[in-house]
Symmetry: C2
């Protein structure tokens, strides 16, 4: 690998670029971004080494696409049109069905690997890019069998070099499960933030009362709407299903409170403490 | 101060005890706990120095009560019966109205200071007690005017010595606001955990897909049901109100998704990003 092009140089693409450069100093990191300010900032911060435009991907050994998932869905076929025979193209989107579907009949489908690194922070943009973001994190690869074996190998070597664990999954299962373990958390957090802001906006200093518990639960409400709106749109059915189940559980909790059934409230919480076991190992 | 008695030697009382001992080495830390195993553990861990029983509070310069709020409501009048003239009694419960009401006509009401230190972790018991838990955190004092001035002074010196900022508030306002900025977060987190566990319990290894975002949002679902059930019970009306508003907001979000109004979904999230400003300064 000599020339790697990052389309999107924010938190996900930028952090990937930093760690690849650390592990492979001989690689030249090129950046492409619809937002010129972002691109200049990434260059200034040293996240990328060269600015580039879309046509330049014909010179790429690898292209990493980390932009909102609706933009990926549109752009990916064009990228596959422009690459050369041995170029590996990877996306990092939080949905996989629509993206895989967008290129299922593309003549260069075998140059593409669909990935979802389960990593991130609530921050965004090139300044949010950090070294070590992917260490110990899971990278979910979808439809691995549809990618040329040699390019699979290259991608996996690289993911492992920056510390990732690999899991394989079909896109439909990915989107279904990720709605529960990721997308729903974002909605629960955004709506918690909204509820408290709406209630307390006329109260002075009320957030002095907010502690670390509130901060933790509402952290994801800082996330980028530009990134998350298309995720909810592409994964609409699964997200609505998870949201309905969540609302039903909250409604049930409320009804238990209304009828003073605090022994069942206790049980609900005690059963959910099982999450301790599940969270072991997640940082 | 020479003899301080901690009724309840878990996360809140225990962390308080550790920092008081650090700041005032001459103080003797006595522990009282309904759970003998807890008490032995606290002694073994050095959280307390002496085991004691309730009648011993007659020798206390100060008594700190950090037990579930329903137990505090019941026990506080008895503690006030047993103390001597100059003893300061402080509670640390997450609700304030019921506790203040339980002693409003007690002859020793002026020995009692109602406090709520906004600090904690999702862990519980003596082994969860840590040094530095209260540094930079807010301590909300209710009905300060009902406490003897000299005892107020003693309490405030001590709270400041362990790093706390002080705020004053009436119990009714406290309970109303804390429902939004603390109690609701716990329910949203518990029900998120429940939703995901219910959905995924038959799936092997699905939690490999859960990242730091999920872990953060669901962290409070590790909290102690024994501590939280009585909080929800005592603050029932405020909690139900906050829960209804939260459910309405989630329902609205779902409806926007159902009618493909993703531009309003974007706006909802963008407006809630305002939480970034609010969270500045909360660790």
């Amino acid at each position: 690998m000599k020339n790697i092009f990052f389309i999107g140089v924010g938190l996900i693409g930028g952090s990937f670029a930093i760690d690849i450069k650390n592990k492979y100093p001989e690689v030249i990191i090129h950046g492409i971004d619809a937002n010129e300010t972002n691109l200049d900032e990434a260059l200034k911060l040293g996240v990328i080494e060269e600015k580039a435009v879309l046509d330049d991907v014909q010179n790429a050994d690898m292209v990493v696409i980390s932009i909102p998932v609706d933009a990926t869905e549109k752009l990916l076929p064009t990228v596959l049109d422009k690459i050369s025979e041995n170029t590996l193209v990877v996306d990092t989107g939080s949905t996989k069905s629509a993206i895989c579907k967008a290129v299922e009949h593309h003549k260069n489908r075998r140059n593409f690997l669909a990935a979802h690194p389960i990593a991130g922070t609530e921050n965004s943009g090139p300044k949010a890019a950090i070294s070590g973001l992917y260490v110990g994190k899971t990278n979910i690869i979808c439809e691995v069998e549809k990618t040329t074996f040699k390019l699979q190998e290259k991608a996996l070597d690289l993911f492992r070099a920056i510390g990732m664990r690999i899991r394989y999954m079909d896109p439909v299962s990915h989107d279904k499960h990720i709605a529960y373990v990721s997308h729903l958390s974002h909605i629960s957090s955004f709506m918690l933030g909204k509820t408290v802001i709406d209630k307390e906006k006329n109260e002075r200093d009320i957030f002095d009362m907010a502690g670390s518990g509130f901060a933790s639960t509402v952290r994801l409400a800082k996330s980028s709407p530009a990134m998350w709106t298309p995720i909810f749109k592409q994964n609409k059915e699964n997200v609505i299903e998870s949201l309905e189940e969540y609302i039903n559980n909250l409604q049930h909790f409320k009804e238990l409170m209304q009828k003073d059934d605090f022994s069942d409230i206790f049980n609900e919480m005690e059963n959910t403490n099982y999450i301790k076991k599940i969270l072991n190992g997640i940082k």
